[in-house]
Each structure stands twice: as C-alpha cells, then as structure tokens.
C-alpha cells in the first residue's frame, strides 16, 4: 500500500496492510498536524505533491526497505490537500520477523521520505502563511 491521497488516512487499513503470520513485529509511525510550529500557532496545513514522482519515489523507498533493510511488508500513505490540527498527514508501517528491523526500517523510511519525496507543506497561521522548507 503506497498512496498519495486527498482522503483522511485509515490507520487500521495501514496496519492491516503489513499483517502476515510470519511477522511478529509491527512499527507504525504517524505524523500529525501540530497546533504550533516555530513558536507560531498553526490553524491548518496545505500539502501539495508532485504526485506521480512522489508515488514512484515512495515505491522505490519501499522496495529498498524490503530488499536492504530486513522489512517483510511496508505501507506508506501521505495525505495532500488541506488538513486540520490533529489530522494524520503521513503514516508509515513496517512489519518484520523481529523488532529491531521494524523500528529501524520505519525510522529510515520516514527520515528518507522527508528528505527526498516531492511533497511540500504550507503552514497557515492566524496571521499569515508560509511554505516550509525543511530539506534544502
């Protein structure tokens, strides 16, 4: 399950996507919209993606996770569009036979996603808005 979607993220479906009888460990990361950022109050967030490239970049990360990082199953869903405080923007789930691989792969996936996948967020505050440039 590798998606860029306008819909709200179904975390249960993300968890189910990595279920398998041989996998004893599941690690899920959820990135949610916070109510503040760099000392300003965030009211909502707009996510924009270069969708085709974002999905193929995510698929490539997932393949690497399976091939090189000891993960058994991987699911990544990133939401785009306008999100409210508290909503999930991204979910990354990884299953593996044992827990170190699941933790390390999940961490690697979200770290790498944030560096390379062409998705951008604009924070909206009570008094303005700003594109966030986290990884120049």
């Amino acid at each position: 399950m590798i998606h860029v979607t306008e819909d709200s993220i179904d975390l249960d479906a993300v968890l189910r996507a990595v279920e398998g009888d041989g996998e004893g460990a599941v690690v899920l990361f959820v990135g949610r919209v916070r109510n503040h950022s760099r000392e300003r109050e965030v009211t909502q967030l707009d996510y924009e993606a270069y969708r085709g490239m974002a999905e193929s970049a995510l698929a490539e990360l997932a393949e690497t996770a399976l091939r090189d990082h000891g993960a058994q199953r991987v699911a990544v869903v990133h939401r785009v569009g306008r999100l409210k405080v508290g909503e999930a923007a991204v979910a990354v789930a990884v299953s593996s036979a044992h827990r170190p691989e699941a933790f390390e792969t999940c961490r690697w996936l979200i770290d790498t996603l944030k560096e390379v996948v062409p998705i951008w967020k604009k924070e909206r505050y009570s008094d303005g808005e700003e594109w966030v440039a986290e990884h120049p």
């Binding site: 990135g31 996510y47 924009e48 993606a49 270069y50 085709g52 490239m53 974002a54 193929s56 970049a57 990133h78 923007a89 991204v90 979200i110 996603l113 944030k114 560096e115 390379v116 996948v117 062409p118 998705i119 951008w120 967020k121 604009k122 594109w131 966030v132 440039a133 986290e134 990884h135 120049p136």
Partner: protein, 96 residues
C-alpha cells in the same frame, strides 16, 4: 534510436528547436506566479545548461534552491534532456 528522418524530420537534427515545459511546485510556483514555464532551448541540452537558461530567463529563480527532476527522477547536472522529457523544478521538500 529507431526513428528515421522521414518519421519525424526534427529528431536528430542538432539545431532542431522544440518548445519544452517545466513544472513548478509549492513556493516556487507561487514565487513565479505560475505552475509551468515554457522555454525554447537549443537542442541538445543538459540539465545544467537548462538550469542556467531558466535562471537567465526567470531571474526570480536565481536566489532559489531547487533540484531538477527529469521524468520524475532527480537528475544529475550532466544528464542530457530530450524534448519529450518531463522536467520539474523541485524546491526543498517538506512532506511528512
């Protein structure tokens, strides 16, 4: 390259002129006021030459950090660009 001159007379002609589109996103699209630039480079052209040309035609790009994607993959500066390639300028990402 199986194309022949008769299929498409412009392919393979080093001086062939062909318009290309460059996709912009997020802050970059906002800064330039449009999500797509059109330019008319002399072919063949590399990623680095294309970047130079873009900056000289749209000086607003000069202070901006961006990577260039060719056909939805990050490209090396030395990579050649073909007229049919999908080119995009990728400002610093902030997903997640």
């Amino acid at each position: 390259m199986s194309n022949t001159e008769t299929d498409s007379p412009e392919v393979g002609r080093p001086d062939a002129q062909q318009c290309m589109h460059v996709l912009l996103f997020a802050g970059l699209a906002e800064r330039l006021g449009c999500a797509r630039l059109t330019l008319n480079p002399p072919w063949p052209v590399t990623v680095a030459e294309l970047q130079e040309r873009l900056v000289s035609e749209w000086p607003e790009l000069a202070p901006v950090t961006f990577r260039t994607a060719v056909n939805q993959r990050y490209a090396l500066d030395s990579e050649p660009v073909q007229p049919e390639d999908e080119i995009a300028l990728i400002p610093p990402v902030s997903g997640g």
